[in-house]
Symmetry: C2
């Protein structure tokens, strides 16, 4: 698809369109012959030139499934595939690059990419522009038919011979199957790969036998050590702690901090610090949250156990602790990516969200946020749920003013991912900036001890004073990636970097 | 639809067709304004002349929702609706008849009907023929678009303001929402009615906010006393006990009674007696079942608790005991009607079923079963899951040889609902008959003490000897109902009775 075929981004408002959803083709069977002995066999049965194939990224850097399957697909000489995973993690990079070089993959849509693959694409390595979509937008695109998945290859830590599966039991557990549930529901052919075939019928069945065509037993689906995001440690970095403390103050002084509020904190050392501070404030003020949303960690399920959070709405777990908790606690609800964040819905969780804390590679004086390209113009990030969760009542961007010799607060972001219109407060280690459109917040946040309010231009100038003005980046005219806004319009493009 | 438009029934084999499923239209919103103050308001917003509307029957004879909604629809003067509930229970009869007489309802598809409504339709009261579909066939028809539901009115014992709901908590609980999950997923507009709006977000969410357009708070959705099927008492009728004992012997002497077998016993005093006998045999022979399926009762969940059954696959609960157990036990899996029995699937539960015990109003010498029309030709039954579960490896029809002065085993059933091809054994109080196509079963069942094997014609003659030959029924040429087989073909029609 060319960028000219796209509608340009206009507004963060979705409105009330009427949408005709799509549905998959079903190959009818009694389900008795789904178990296939090898990946080679199942690829032969399912994948043809020109198809769209998908994977999930719940195993993160512990993923063994992607490389096993792509090895077979490349070796089979299949050409011209569109790769449409929920996201791409670092362990997949070498294989994707090889597949591109051999013509196996000619199109990619993903939440993001990093490392060698980001570098390869930024230097023009892929024939067609990558389309980056947020998690909610991927759900929307699948439900509209913008992404039509022919074959989904989904790794699971357990499955029975008919394909009933969940992410909660087994060796390589990751908890919620949130992103993969879209593929299971909408792909024409669904292939499960597991190292753990359990007696029929397997429950709870997050993925159901009615959705699955083939089950392949493999040696190991993932490395449990690398599935966790490693974000369970509490940060000791003074700058991160300062930011987390300020984020906490912004939340607790905002009008949203009251009984029944909801929040998404995400992962990373700073986010965990926010969760810890917030926990104390909730206890001190006798405030309970109605729900915590998003990528879930053990500190969040601890809040559920403590009764400080009524419900955990779980599209993804970042550690085994959170994953383990889910299958016996009906208050931790597995949600799919559509329920989490599809904007073309009858209400997604993000539409009900009070407070979200999000990160930024760059944020500019219009509050536009870049989480996709580095200061060198190279792709090194992922939209994730950034655009989606920014619809919260209070969207806080937490970011250091500078990183090393690079400014985070800039006159113009290299790549607009999340429009400034949906961002409310920037928190840095020096103080905060409030989006002028949120004048209502100024009063509530104006008298917090130790938290000065700046105009965002002042913060930008403070950053520039410290690190200087960078030389403008040099790009060619060739588009290597397009950034969709969550409604499917195009909000920015990424051009090939000049060598 | 006319019977001439239909493909005639050919085979119980479904084969491996490729099916394009359909998907609903979605009216996009953030979900913030779903709560509507009255049924009048929501009917005004949703229902137009000529539409197809639906309800579920999980409240059975304790249902208050159907009559409340239909009262408003009739009074609004809406005309020419197709009524497409999962089934119709006796408490709905008067209202349906009034709606037909006033032109509000001109088409009906249902699993069944009884009492005054069956009588009314059998005497030509409805303009167009009713289409009777099994639970699995209704799921199939919805997923194909043969039934296109414009508005589903679904009563639930709890819901939050965005429509997250389940059948497990509240006053009028009924457990699994199995049949209603089809409507929630496929209807263009979904209206929940509840007497219990709970804090957001409600979990577990069997019905999800992403599926629901409106939530209406009503006084009471149902009468808990009348939701249970009343089948929790153990029968003391000697004839029923004799049949149950024989059914048990047939099962335990069959090749299917081994570790990991599966069964569906259903409801009613005799079924409960079978469950009790079977329990003892399982203990004595150290045999565990892999799953119990279907309409679930407390005696079945007791087996789960005892560890005699590994999993309960639950499309419907017949008592509060079974309903209560589900939401804290991941081994009791809520399944929708498609997963239960849609033949056009990637494997439904019934395809994996070893043993099923089903009832009959009549069974003929070709083993065809009638569960729909009485010996007077009047509609007084429901297909339910009869055609669907008959795909089991061992399908047992349990029925008395005669009922009062009426033969159950007859030369030809009045109405063919389940084809003889899918029936294996008939169990009566006098003995059993084995379908000749199941010669393999004869050896296993030939030496059971006290269980004589008859040719089914012998049983028919025994019955005829006792009650005589009835005068042939008199029908007009007009078709008042069509019986679909589960694949959507037409297996029989019901004609208007002659007065």
């Amino acid at each position: 698809m060319n960028e000219l075929d796209y509608k340009g981004f206009e507004s963060t408002e979705i409105g009330n369109p009427e949408i005709q959803r799509v549905a998959p083709k079903v190959h009818v069977s009694t389900g008795d012959n789904k178990v296939v002995s090898s990946i080679e066999d199942v690829v032969k049965k399912t994948v043809k030139d020109g198809m769209t194939i998908s994977f999930h990224h719940h195993f993160r850097n512990g993923d063994f499934v992607f490389n096993k399957v792509m090895r077979v697909i490349i070796d089979a000489g299949i050409q011209d595939l569109t790769l449409a995973p929920s996201s791409l993690t670092g362990v997949m990079n070498d294989m994707v690059i090889e597949a591109i070089k051999k013509g196996t993959i000619t199109n990619i849509t993903s939440s993001g990419m990093r490392g060698s693959l980001g570098d390869f694409v930024s230097h023009g390595g892929l024939k067609n522009p990558v389309i980056f979509r947020s998690h909610g937008n991927r759900a929307r695109a699948i439900e509209h038919g913008d992404i039509k998945i022919d074959v989904a290859f989904l790794g699971v830590p357990n499955a029975d011979r008919l394909g009933n599966a969940n992410g909660m039991n087994g060796n390589a557990v990751f908890g919620s199957l949130g992103y993969a549930l879209m593929d299971a529901q909408y792909a024409n052919s669904v292939v499960l790969l597991t190292d753990n075939i359990v007696p029929y019928p397997n429950t709870p069945a997050s993925i159901k036998q009615t959705q699955v065509d083939y089950v392949v037993e493999v040696d190991k689906v993932g490395d449990p050590e690398k599935i966790g995001s490693g974000a369970t440690r509490f940060t000791k970095d003074p700058k991160e702690l300062k930011i987390a403390e300020t984020v906490n103050k912004v939340i607790t002084n905002s009008p949203y901090f009251k009984n029944g509020f909801s929040f998404q904190t995400g992962t990373g050392g700073a986010a965990l610090a926010v969760t810890r501070y917030l926990r104390q404030e909730m206890i001190d003020n006798k405030i309970k949250a109605s729900f915590a949303l998003g990528g879930i960690t053990k500190p969040t399920t601890d809040l559920l156990e403590e009764g400080l959070v009524e419900k955990v709405m779980d599209v993804q777990d970042f550690d085994k602790g959170a994953a383990d908790f889910m299958h016996t606690n009906p208050k931790q609800q597995e949600i799919d990516a559509s329920w989490y964040a599809d904007p073309d819905n009858k209400g997604a969780m993000v539409d009900q969200l009070d407070v979200v804390i999000l990160s930024a590679l760059e944020i500019d004086t219009k509050f536009n946020v870049n989480v996709m390209s580095g200061s060198d113009g190279v792709i090194r990030g992922a939209i994730g749920g950034h655009q989606d969760a920014s619809t919260a009542n209070l969207t806080i961007i937490s970011a250091p003013l500078i990183r090393g010799r690079i400014a985070t607060v800039v006159p113009d972001v290299t790549t607009v991912v999340t429009p400034g219109d949906s961002v409310d407060v920037l928190v840095t280690e020096y103080g905060i900036a409030i989006n002028p459109k949120r004048d209502d917040l100024k009063k509530a946040l104006s008298n917090i001890p130790g938290v000065p309010i700046y105009d965002i231009s002042e913060l930008q100038q403070m950053a520039e004073k410290r690190v200087g003005k960078p030389t403008p980046l040099q790009f060619t005219d060739r588009t290597v990636a397009m950034i969709e806004y969550r409604d499917g319009s195009i909000i920015d493009t990424i051009k090939q970097v000049k060598d």
